[in-house]
């Protein structure tokens, strides 16, 4: 197996893993109505999306660096969730 094939396989597994984690957090959000979990749900979905975009583009495409903005967005969502958690008494 070439390096590229191994990487594609791992990336595929990671995409699935992120989506499953997103599903768990989605369920937690429905159970607890905790907005933080909604943010984690979105964050993991965006992480999955980022990996899909990276796969679609390959590592030498000129737009590849911009794909990492998606990762930034994912972590940004988590930060927004944390900030929201610490701000007011609302759920």
């Amino acid at each position: 197996m070439s390096v590229i094939q191994v990487n594609i396989a791992l990336t595929g597994a990671n995409i699935m893993g992120f989506l499953i984690a997103g599903l768990f957090f989605f369920r937690f959000w429905r159970l607890t109505h905790e907005r933080l979990f909604a943010m984690f749900t979105l964050a993991f979905c965006v992480m999955a999306l980022e990996r899909v975009a990276l796969l679609a583009m390959g590592s030498n495409h000129e737009f590849t660096p911009y794909v990492y903005f998606l990762r930034l967005a994912a972590y940004g969502l988590i930060l927004v969730g944390i900030i929201d958690k610490n701000r007011g008494p609302q759920r």
């Binding site: 390096v3 191994v6 990487n7 791992l10 990336t11 597994a13 990671n14 893993g17 992120f18 499953i20 984690a21 768990f24 369920r27 590592s59 660096p65 990492y68 903005f69 990762r71 930034l72 972590y75 940004g76 988590i78 930060l79 944390i82």
Partner: protein, 87 residues
Amino acid sequence: MAALIYILCALTSGACTVLLLRRYWHSRVRMLFWSALAFLAFALSNVLLFIDLIVLPQWDLTILRSLATSSGILLLLYGLIITTTKP
């Protein structure tokens, strides 16, 4: 600019790790432990991304990064699964 993104991602994962570990230290809820480790692995994968693209561009760390991410996902899923099932 790109470097800033990678560092920010690593720092956010690191912050999640710290917050989860802090809570774990108080409450001993196992899910927090596994989640904390997961975010540590994600932080590692972001650090490796920084190293791969900026510090050592002549090397290809892609598989290592993917493995770090996979480890994080496995740790996270383990924690999430034990949370939602009772022994």
